[in-house]
């Protein structure tokens, strides 16, 4: 196995161009498991941990641009206030050791339907910045996941960063697992209320071939809030509308039966999570208004 270790971003992109088959490794919390389980035998590995650019974050035209190599621990500590949904999701990832090593870039790279960073990135409409030696492009995260553990990245590309607006309203994340910590999602759900644009964002994890957004549910709830002028004057939302929101989230999922749970349970649980997280987010909206 060839081991490539670039120290700058330009060098990393050149190496990837020269070795398109090389597997990038960041925190290694997915890659090393794959190698250990003999599921992957990469001919070459590109270690990205020496590339300082990937570990930076900053703002760009009002957006946050977060390097692919920023770990969950740093998201929680440094960006918790600006990206509360992603920080909540990050707190549920693995154990402290995994959060210290694992990165959002790695989560996007693996593109597992169960990746916990995905639902909050979906609900807040993030972009993924992909780069190659010949240039870079920004793909909406809603178009980034193209199949089970497959994403829109070409094999000469690397993930540079993700871009997202700092929070524009209450956000929540909730994940069901059969253990009270250190568990892969049976299903998960993220919600983000964009108070200025009067939009409701959602993200569903572990209940379909890819992470998904519940678009009908988003439009339905934004409509309900709009019609009754609740965005401006937050008050109780009709419980029937909240229940309907849950149903639409459940309907958007495309779950299967597997070792972690049944499809029927996943749909049932998503409806519960959707109702609860909306209620928590809305309560926060009412408190802050």
């Amino acid at each position: 196995m060839e081991f490539l270790q670039p120290t700058t971003w330009t060098e990393a992109l050149e190496m990837k161009a020269a070795h398109p088959e090389a597997l990038p490794i960041a925190g290694g919390t997915d890659v090393m498991v794959e190698i250990n389980f003999d599921r992957q035998r990469p001919a070459a590995v590109i270690d990205l941990t020496k590339v300082a650019e990937l570990e930076e974050w900053g703002t760009e035209n009002g957006m946050l641009r977060v390097g692919a190599g920023v770990t969950y621990s740093r998201i929680i500590e440094e960006l918790g206030g600006r990206l509360p949904g992603l920080a909540m999701a990050s707190r549920t990832v693995g154990s402290p050791q995994i959060r210290n090593r694992g990165t959002v870039g790695g989560n996007l790279g693996s593109a597992s339907p169960a990746g916990d960073a995905h639902p909050p990135l979906l609900s807040s409409g993030a972009l993924v910045e992909l780069a190659s030696a010949s240039g870079s492009r920004r793909v909406p995260v809603r178009e980034f996941f193209v199949g089970p553990k497959r994403n829109a990245m070409r094999n000469d590309e690397l993930i540079a960063a993700f871009l997202v607006e700092p929070t524009r309203g209450p956000e929540q994340f909730s994940k069901v697992g059969t253990r009270n910590a250190m568990v892969i999602a049976v299903c998960s759900f993220a919600i983000a209320l964009d108070v200025e644009r009067k939009r409701v964002g959602t993200g569903i994890g572990s209940a379909g071939p890819t992470p998904l957004a519940a678009i009908d549910a988003e439009e339905f709830m934004a409509g309900v809030l709009d019609e009754s002028g609740l965005w401006e004057r937050p008050a109780d939302v009709d419980p029937n509308a909240v229940a309907r929101f849950g149903e639409l989230v459940a309907a958007a999922a495309r779950p299967i039966d597997d070792v972690r749970g049944t499809a029927a349970y996943r749909r049932h649980a998503l409806a519960v999570l959707a109702r609860r997280t909306f209620t928590w987010a809305w309560d926060e909206r009412r408190r802050s208004a």
Partner: protein
């Protein structure tokens, strides 16, 4: 040439003192040499070729390509087994390497040794196997039928048990029935199966191995390798847990075969995934129960049908089904009983010993039945249990009268009155205390509290006439000017604290501060297995007996030395005792220090210790004095269930257990906590999921073990009631905590949800859909 092994530490501590285990600091720092760390220069690595089918005929094995690969030193199949080609703890039915047929997914078919582990793994993939795939028999109910394929020459019933007690036609006013199912739990020891075999150049072999019983491994290995016992020497390596998973051979014979064939040391160490097929599991159970009682709540009869899935090979199935039946009713008086049990062969993963050994499965059933009965009678469930509790002199359904303390009612009364944890308050949301934990699934919505109780019991030590004994060698000499005791047994320290207990017993009997417990090996007689909660009793008993023999010689030596000096004579030692490194007289004065008395003298004694004899269950009635000691524990569980999501938070567990005498109270607490955690695991998350004979979750990603956020505080009430028959009055401690803990949790979930739960582990969808 010897690998690095856990060091023999200098220890001190008397019986009854809470003392820290000698390897605690090493383990915490990551310095403890586990068996997976074993290494010597020039060693090869072994790998195992395993069956991808649960049931298939082997058409051909072609190892040509594998043999030609870089670094490969040997590729072996069943043709290369030098001695007996099958082995087994009770029935020799398991091939060392599959012969013509594979009977479970992951069965070992061929072996490879290579210079590097990766080379060995690659070569293992390159062994070409052609199979004729057969339809696997995976339903244990079908295994009982005539038209099922016969997986072994004598049919599919490994053992059937019949217990008949009292009036077979007894009728009762109140009758409750129930069906219960227990899933397959894994012992999940954190240390994978691993060991190092070093050929001695003269045809023999030394094996460094983490196991539960060195001598039975040796006996089986000698057979398989076709060697005399002396040519197969075993030394205990650092162990990372056992819980029953290391009673059968795993890689032992394989590593020895490869070492003898290549003339090189061979190390084998399983991956986590391989470990899941490399050891037996807890038997899944299907149970049907009927309880009859009088209107005032006295049990009239119990009828039970217990079916255990033993998987492809027998392992210790015959003893597990015996326990499951003997204790089917729980620790209650029951004059009439009809118990039928079977353990059958299937093409599922083999099952065998696991902490609780047959008493765990039935406890889920008998305790659910007692709750049902209480509900039917309108009685308090704890009152009903106390009303029927066994006492000293009560007779089991097997006709055995139980002597010694039988504190069933007392244990229940004690857990009943323990203070209750407070309810979660809505003011300060602490997700760690919520069902769903830090995953933020509820802020109180849907959360209902439930409380449940359970009590259980089981046998300590071997049963049904099995020859139970242990051997200890104890040596007393002066080292660095101070007396020092050296204890040598083959008793396997599996994490339970046996090393410390042996030191405490020797130190107490001989009144000597410094004790060293030598590493366990086969250079001393057998200790039996570290299982059945028996080692403190049996090996502790042997250490006590050998220490007493040394003490007698010390007194004799002192008498003769002192009479030589004209200071006493025979009979002088009557009031003497050993204390603080000296002989002390009845009035407390020092007669002579041991350092002075011994000088260069070395006193060494070896003793065997045997508990009371037991006998085999009668084939028609199941009547016998089959067990030598019984241990009891009760648990109370308080749970919060999110009834909309089906997620469970065990808020608190409380337990009362009679340990007879706590030799090392710190270790006792560890057993009570660890056992309860394992019980909790089976109740709410731990399950090997098998579909069509294939394990679907052979990793810790999806075989979930409880974390610290799942396992709550354990309130403990440790009783020391003293058994008149055992050394120091002690009782086996290790298994009872794993028996009633889970059933108490399930009872609490039933109260919280109002659902009739028939199956464990309880899954979220069982509570919601």
């Amino acid at each position: 040439m010897k690998p690095k092994l856990p060091p023999a530490a200098l220890m001190s501590g008397r019986v009854g003192e809470p003392v820290r285990r000698p390897d605690a600091a090493l383990k915490t720092r990551g310095d403890f040499p586990y068996s997976s760390d074993l290494q010597v220069d020039g060693m090869l690595w072994g790998a195992t070729v395993r069956s991808p089918h649960p049931y298939a005929r082997i058409v051909s094995i072609d190892s040509t390509e594998a043999r030609s690969m870089p670094g490969v030193r040997a590729v072996l199949t069943h043709d290369d087994v030098p001695g007996k080609k099958v082995y087994g703890l009770e029935i020799p039915d398991q091939p060392v390497l599959a012969i013509d047929v594979v009977r479970y997914w992951g069965e070992a078919v061929a072996l490879v040794a290579a210079d590097h582990p990766e080379q060995a793994r690659r070569a293992a993939h390159a062994v070409r196997l052609e199979y004729e795939v057969l339809a696997p028999l995976t339903n244990p109910e079908l295994a009982l039928t005539e038209n099922a394929p016969r997986l072994h020459p004598d049919g599919n019933i490994t053992r059937a048990i019949k217990i008949r007690r009292g009036d077979q036609n007894a009728r009762a006013d109140v009758v409750v029935t129930g069906e219960y199912e227990v899933g397959m739990q894994d012992q999940a020891p954190l240390g994978p199966e691993s060991g190092l075999a070093i050929p001695d150049g003269a045809g023999g072999v030394d094996l460094y191995i983490a196991t539960q019983w060195l001598h039975i491994d040796r006996d089986q290995l000698a057979g398989v390798l076709g060697l005399p016992h002396e040519a197969v020497r075993l030394t205990m390596a650092g162990i990372g847990g056992a819980f029953g998973a290391r009673e059968d051979l795993s890689m032992q014979a394989h590593a020895c075969m490869l070492a003898l064939r290549t003339g090189r040391p061979v190390k084998m160490s399983y991956s986590r995934a391989e470990s899941f097929v490399g050891h037996v599991h807890r038997h899944p159970a299907r149970m049907r129960y009927e309880h009859g009682a009088t209107r005032d709540g006295k049990l009239v009869y119990v009828k039970a049908r217990i079916l255990l899935d033993g998987g492809a090979y027998a392992s210790s199935s015959t003893a597990v089904i015996s326990n499951a039946c003997c204790f089917a009713v729980g620790p209650y008086e029951c004059p009439n009983a009809i118990i039928d049990g079977w353990v059958v062969y299937t093409n599922n993963p083999p099952c065998g010993a696991m902490r609780g050994f047959g008493s765990v499965q039935n406890c889920y059933a008998h305790e659910a039945q007692m709750d049902k009965l209480a509900a039917a009678l309108g009685m308090d469930p704890v009152e009903l249990r106390i009303h029927n509790a066994m006492k000293t002199g009560s007779t089991l359904v097997t006709g055995q009268a139980v002597d010694g303390p039988v504190p069933v009612a007392e244990l229940l009364s004690r857990i009943k009155v323990m203070p209750m944890p407070t309810a979660v308050s809505g003011d300060h949301l602490d997700l760690t205390q919520m069902p769903g934990g830090v995953s933020n699934t509820t802020h109180g919505e849907g959360v209902r509290r439930g409380v449940g109780y359970a009590v259980g019991f089981k046998n300590v030590g071997y049963s049904e006439g099995f020859n139970d004994y242990s051997t200890a060698r104890v040596k007393l000499a002066v080292a660095d000017g101070r007396p020092r005791v050296e204890v040598h047994t083959a008793g396997a320290e599996v994490g339970q604290g046996l090393v410390m207990v042996q030191a405490q017993i020797a130190s107490t009997v001989l009144g000597v501060h410094d004790v060293v417990v030598l590493g366990a090996d086969t250079q001393v007689g057998s200790s039996g297995s570290s299982s059945a909660s028996r080692q403190t009793y049996i090996t502790g008993g042997a250490v006590k007996a050998a220490s007493e023999a040394v003490r007698d010689r010390v007194f004799a030596l002192a008498e003769s030395e002192l009479s030589g000096l004209g200071r006493g004579g025979s009979g002088e030692s009557d009031g003497w005792r050993l204390e603080s490194d000296a002989i002390v007289s009845a009035d407390g004065g020092v007669v002579i220090t041991l350092a002075t008395l011994l000088g260069e003298e070395v006193i060494e004694e070896t003793r065997e210790y045997r508990p009371r004899r037991t006998s085999r269950l009668d084939g028609e009635t199941g009547q016998a004095n089959a067990h030598m000691q019984f241990a009891f524990a009760a648990h109370r569980a308080v749970v919060d269930v999110d009834v909309e999501l089906g997620l469970v938070k065990v808020v608190e567990l409380a337990t009362a257990q009679d340990v007879g005498k706590a030799i090392n109270p710190q270790a006792v607490e560890g057993q009570l906590e660890g056992g309860a955690a394992q019980g909790l695991g089976l109740a709410v998350m731990e399950e090997i999921q098998v579909k069509d004979g294939v394990i679907r979750n052979p990793s810790f990603t999806d075989y979930l073990l409880p974390t610290t956020l799942d396992m709550p505080q354990l309130r403990m009430d440790v009783l020391e009631l003293g058994d008149p028959n055992s050394p120091f009055g002690l009782k086996g401690v290790g298994e009872p905590p794993a028996i009633s803990s889970g059933p108490a949790i399930v009872a609490a979930i039933r109260t919280a949800t109002g659902r009739e739960i028939k199956r464990v582990p309880v899954r979220p969808h069982d509570l919601t859909l």
